[in-house]
């Protein structure tokens, strides 16, 4: 049984082209700037409900997204703006969902991070942690029944979700069925405010893999190249028939649980530790040191991303809000079975 612990990555095996780390970095940057915009819109009172950022987790998230093919399955969690963009979610979908546009994928029925296109393999999360894992299992299970081979599915979780029964049931189920599932755990040290010391007692969450009979991978989640390498490897293992893969990335969320939370409970010592490194800066340093790019390129990409985000926000702010009088107000697709419509 494979259990790998990655040191600093070289990104040597990432992607099909030498430009893969650049592609990943630019997506991370867009995700970071998009999150910054949502935080600003939230402060300006333009967003109803919660705002959940992926700051500090973009390297891990983007590594997931760029490791997947369009035909794969992806169940992101709340800090996966980067992974979503990398998987192909249009940036404007995030804006529309946060702003409740009637034109967004959820049409105002659900908001913020609860968005997706199930039939296209992007599963919209429910809030109950661990619940998406078995749904990914189901898609993979059904595809195997239909004779579709070669695809994999990713479910993203935080370390808090590893305490749920749903996590246990689903990982065990995937192992029993030998499904090509990659379970990516962002161990960001705090589940909302609860520290790891109150969440689990094992030395490493990756140790749990042994109990399920699945392979595991541990990686420094602040290490851009390490994340790319590890996710590429885990996805490849799942795709080539080695069953479920548990990936545990250690990092720190560089923001509150949501924008309503100042994260005062995170001790300064952790923020100043290697866990508190900003993966975006780590990525820039990596790209410069390995001569992928010159420093002058970063500002241009940043400005380009800001223009894209501002244009999307400006467009969505002009779009119609959902109209309660146009709503069908039914939760079932079989209209003939609506209450009061018995034939």
């Amino acid at each position: 049984m494979l259990h790998t612990v990655s040191g600093p990555g070289s990104a040597g095996h990432v992607g099909s082209t030498a430009a893969a780390p650049l592609v990943a970095y630019r997506i991370m940057l867009r995700a970071r700037l998009l999150d910054d915009k949502f935080a600003a819109l939230s402060r300006a009172g333009k967003i109803h409900g919660g705002v959940f950022l992926g700051r500090g987790q973009e390297a891990l998230s983007v590594a997931v997204g760029v490791s997947l093919d369009k035909s794969d399955v992806f169940a992101p969690l709340i800090r996966d703006a980067a992974g979503r963009l990398a998987f192909g979610e249009p940036l404007i979908d995030a804006v529309r969902t946060y702003l409740g546009s009637a034109l967004g994928p959820m049409r105002g029925r659900d908001g913020n991070v609860h968005r997706g296109y199930p039939r296209e393999g992007l599963l919209p999360m429910i809030s109950h942690l661990g619940a998406m894992v078995s749904v990914v299992n189901g898609v993979l299970f059904a595809r195997r029944m239909k004779g579709i081979t070669g695809c994999v599915g990713v479910a993203c979780l935080g370390e808090g979700a590893t305490s749920t029964g749903a996590f246990h049931e689903a990982l065990n189920q995937a192992a029993v069925e030998k499904l090509p599932l990659i379970l990516v755990v962002a161990n960001n040290q705090f589940a909302y405010s609860t520290p790891n010391s109150r969440q689990f007692a094992c030395a490493s969450l990756a140790d749990k893999a042994v109990g399920y009979g699945v392979e595991s991978h541990s990686v420094d989640g602040t290490d851009f190249a390490g994340c790319l390498e590890t996710l590429s490897s885990a996805v490849n293992r799942a795709r080539t028939g080695h069953g479920p893969q548990l990936v545990v990335a250690n990092l720190l969320r560089l923001c509150g649980h949501g924008e309503h939370d100042d994260a005062h409970y995170i001790p300064t010592e952790i923020k100043n530790s290697p866990l508190g490194r900003d993966c975006l800066k780590v990525a820039e340093k990596f790209l410069l040191e390995h001569n992928y790019v010159g420093a002058d390129m970063f500002i241009g990409w940043r400005n380009e991303a800001i223009r894209e985000i501002e244009a999307a926000v400006a467009q969505v702010l002009r779009e119609a809000a959902p109209d309660p009088f146009a709503e069908e107000w039914t939760a079932i697709s079989s209209k003939y079975l609506m209450e009061g419509h018995a034939s």
């Binding site: 609860h114 894992v133 189901g138 049931e169 189920q173």
Partner: protein
């Protein structure tokens, strides 16, 4: 040749597996063993790779079904007992039931719940949970009372594009028999007049239909003509048929095996009172199980649930009002 309620459920699943390649069955012990009640007897052999044992993981069973439904399949999930569906409750009510509303992608899963009390089964193998599921938007809840309905409504459930909670009563499994399977059936969502009468309407469903019919037969010897409405479907609930019956009789008694707080009987009374108040000659009444867990001992169990005797007594009281 006769066929039982349980065999009808088995035959409906065989029919669905035979006719629709999208159908598969997933649940504990449903494979080679044929299920705890034998509702999937021999199906794993007849349909290789499509009737599969699951781990004891109700949450993941339903989650897997939702994923498979997204991918276009039509899973049937067997909960070994309805009571254990509470472990998969989150996936049913939050994942499956909300999927279409959130995404416009329908979720055609059928969750079979062997439910209701049988003597000696005790608190954790006897529960009636239909009202809890009916409370949530996005679910269809079916409660067949006859062999014919068990068959035709299970076939309908698999064909419905939304999640269906199929409540099959364990007490009816073995002793309820019919000569043959039906070739046609009332549509899902339509209640059935199980017995016609003019003095009082009993609205009920599932195993309680048979207690109500027995009570009606007893009361007939006393000169009363009791109408029995079998709801068949809890959600949607066929209010029209119920109110039409109350319009004929002027008296309503709702009988359910579930617990008394809220629930199907309360819903029926609320609807009739709100929409048919002027039709009532007496205050509508309810008869439910007692407000305790379902007891183990036959003496206690028989007193916990409504029976033909207690239904007849409640009807007599209402007829005298």
């Amino acid at each position: 040749m006769s066929i039982t309620y349980l065999e009808a459920i088995r035959e409906a699943q065989a029919h669905a597996l035979r006719d629709d390649p999208r159908v598969f069955i997933y649940g504990q012990d449903v494979g080679a063993f044929g299920g705890a009640f034998k509702a999937t007897k021999n199906l794993a052999r007849e349909f290789p790779g499509r009737v599969l044992d699951s781990p004891i993981s109700e949450d993941a069973m339903v989650g897997l079904a939702v994923g498979a439904a997204i991918e276009g399949l039509r899973p049937i999930i067997e909960m070994q007992f309805a009571d254990f569906s509470t472990v998969g409750f989150n996936q049913i009510v939050n994942q499956a039931a909300t999927l279409f509303w959130r995404t416009q992608v329908s979720c055609p899963i059928t969750v079979r719940l062997p439910f209701g009390g049988t003597s000696g089964s005790g608190p954790f193998h006897s529960q009636s949970l239909e009202a809890i599921y009916a409370h949530y938007p996005g679910l269809i809840v079916l409660t067949p009372a006859t062999v014919e309905d068990a068959y035709s409504m299970l076939l309908a459930a698999v064909a419905i594009d939304d999640p269906v909670i199929f409540c099959e009563h364990k007490l009816l499994y073995y002793h309820l028999k019919s000569e043959k399977l039906p070739s046609e059936a009332l549509p899902v969502g339509k209640a059935r007049i199980a017995r016609e009468g003019r003095d009082l309407t009993i609205v009920t469903y599932s195993a309680m239909v048979h207690e109500a019919l027995a009570a009606a037969a007893e009361l007939a010897t006393e000169g009363w003509e009791i109408e029995v409405v079998d709801l068949r479907s809890i959600k949607p609930l066929d209010t029209d048929t119920v109110i039409a019956s109350v319009a004929r009789t002027g008296r309503l008694l709702c009988v359910g095996e579930a617990w008394p707080w809220g629930g199907v009987t309360a819903e029926v009374v609320a609807r009739v009172t709100a929409e048919g108040y002027g039709l009532l000659d007496a205050p509508p009444q309810r008869l439910n199980a007692k407000d305790t867990p379902v007891p183990y001992h036959p003496n206690l169990w028989a007193a916990h649930r409504p029976t033909s005797r207690s239904v007849a007594a409640a009807a007599r009281n209402l007829l005298r009002t």
